[in-house]
């Protein structure tokens, strides 16, 4: 589903970025990405979500070679990748419903379909009753769940999450992880960046560890080795 082949990303005048990353995440896998801040977790997610482009190497997402994508195809690929951010990135002047419905509106679905799917996504994250309020009136955990609903509402095969539990207490963090696990059970491929090692280890999933832009450890490989 996601394949890195010697992918490097460098920023001019900076040591950050990624160096020669090669890895493969098969469809339906749930993978955690850990490492210190600045290790390249966010950069890796941005490359998959096409928020940035790699400097070298080949990167495939859902069978599409990202470096061969035409500009007009970029939005179409982003629709196949749901993204969740630590700072939620919600539209402050739109209701929870409108925020969650946005990917469907953008994709050009019919009104009925949008309402049905949006309500289903809100129901899934337990926020159906808050559909008509503005995001600012919600707690941090609720806002994060709105962001998650938005990421999964269009049923993308791949979901990326960048520090989704960064600002949440352990109880809420576990709830969020529970949600991710449920998505994974219906076949969604998840790539979740988190520096919360304790939480990540309780999930018993494949863990990729980055350090200074390199892939330091892949629990999947070490098990098989």
């Amino acid at each position: 589903m996601i394949r890195f082949d010697n992918v490097s990303k460098s920023y001019p005048g900076s040591d950050g970025g990624l160096r020669e990353i090669s890895l493969h995440i098969p469809p339906g896998e749930m993978v955690f990405l850990t490492g210190h801040s600045g290790a390249g977790k966010s950069t890796l997610l941005k490359l998959v979500g096409l928020l940035e482009r790699s400097s070298r190497g080949q990167l495939w997402v859902n069978k599409h070679n990202l470096s061969r994508l035409k500009p007009a195809e970029i939005p179409l690929l982003r629709r196949q990748v749901g993204m969740i951010f630590q700072d939620h990135r919600l539209l402050a002047d739109r209701t929870v419903f409108d925020n969650v419905a946005l990917p469907l509106v953008v994709a050009g679905l019919g009104r009925q379909e949008i309402r049905r799917r949006t309500q289903a996504a809100l129901d899934k994250v337990g926020l159906l009753k808050k559909a008509r309020v503005l995001p600012v009136t919600l707690s941090g955990g609720e806002q994060q769940r709105v962001g998650i609903a938005r990421a999964v509402v269009s049923k993308p095969p791949v979901v990326l999450a960048d520090e989704p539990t960064g600002n949440l207490d352990p109880e809420l963090s576990r709830e969020i992880m529970q949600l991710f696990q449920e998505f994974n059970q219906v076949g969604v491929t998840l790539l979740i960046a988190s520096h919360d090692l304790a939480l990540v280890e309780t999930m018993q999933k494949r863990i990729l560890t980055l350090e200074q832009g390199r892939l330091l450890r892949d629990s999947h490989n070490s098990e098989s080795a």
Partner: protein, 319 residues
């Protein structure tokens, strides 16, 4: 083959109902945005209205002046005053002689009685005229040359020829100032065109700048739309419709301004025309002009918005 497969994978087919729905939604949501900040929108629209009204007003002025000149074109005639001694018979003879000439389109005879009657009707001297024992006015022939654009030299020759006739006292042509007047209207016409071009550019810049500010105010929103897979067309669309609304409302305001101005001028103009024994009335904007002004303004609005969006979509990359 591979590209085709990819296309299928993205499922980006054209669906008319959805296309219509999206455009309708963008059309009204952009209208809603204008409505949500009424003061700013109204001031922008007023500026646009005035910018469009200026060349339009000048165009209307030129139009009216040309109509006025057209009325006077029939005044490109020669007045031939006969000597007092020449009677009705001499007048008729000359009339027939002149009508036979090839370079003359028409000759009209105004008898002293007719002249007196007109004079009484259109001047304030009616009571004074009562005092006259007999009619002092001569027979007059109005001669219309066949060639309305007769050259000044030919006209002079023709006048001299007329005056050489024994029964003619005086031959007068009042063409020169009509020509000058037409010259002035031609300058004004050109000025209206230049002004229209300059102010079209102004309209383009005003709308472009307004949309640019709007885009900057919604940077975050645009970023998030891009994030969830919004295409450039999807992002561009509401701004283009906003440009459409600015063009439409700006031109409607301009037309309203012209209408009110013309209404305000109507009475004084009619009054002045009456003083000159003319029934000239200020004519308004032709329907074709109204529609082309609206059409051009809308096009300028969309173009201005398109330039602004194009510039910013290029600049904006996701972080």
């Amino acid at each position: 083959m591979k590209a085709r497969k990819r296309q299928q994978g993205f499922n980006n087919g054209f669906r008319p109902a959805i296309w219509l729905g999206r455009h309708g939604q963008a059309l009204f949501s952009s209208l809603g945005r204008l409505w949500r900040r009424p003061l700013g929108s109204f001031m922008t629209l007023l500026v646009l209205g005035i910018a469009i009204a200026l060349p339009l007003g000048l165009h209307l002025l030129v139009n009216n002046l040309q109509q006025l000149a057209a009325q006077w074109d029939s005044g490109a005639s020669i007045s031939v005053f006969l000597k007092e001694s020449a009677g009705e018979k001499a007048a008729k003879t000359l009339l027939n002689a002149l009508q036979a000439k090839e370079n003359i389109r028409e000759v009209r005879h105004i008898s002293p009685q007719q002249a007196m009657e007109e004079f009484r009707q259109y001047s304030d001297f009616a009571s004074a005229l009562e005092l006259l024992d007999d009619n002092p006015l001569p027979h007059v022939l109005l001669v219309y040359p066949r060639d309305a654009k007769i050259s000044a030299q030919d006209l002079q020759d023709f006048l001299r020829e007329l005056e050489n006739r024994p029964e003619v006292e005086l031959a007068l042509a009042d063409l020169q100032w009509v020509e000058r007047f037409q010259g002035i209207t031609r300058i004004l016409q050109r000025a209206a065109l230049v002004l229209a071009l300059l102010l079209s550019l102004a309209v383009l810049l005003i709308i472009g700048n307004t949309i640019r500010l709007e885009i900057q105010g919604r940077r975050d929103e645009i970023g998030i739309i891009k994030l969830v897979g919004g295409s450039d067309a999807f992002i561009r669309r509401p701004f283009l419709y906003e440009g459409f609304w600015y063009g439409l409302f700006g031109s409607l305001i301009a037309i309203a301004l012209i209408f009110v101005s013309a209404l305000a001028l109507q009475d004084p103009v009619s009054h002045l025309a009456a003083l000159y024994q003319s029934n000239f009335r200020l004519s308004g904007l032709a329907m074709t002009t109204v529609f082309s002004v609206i059409g051009i303004s809308i096009l300028l609005g969309i173009l201005g918005a398109w330039i602004a969006v194009r510039q910013h979509l290029g600049e904006m990359e996701l972080d």
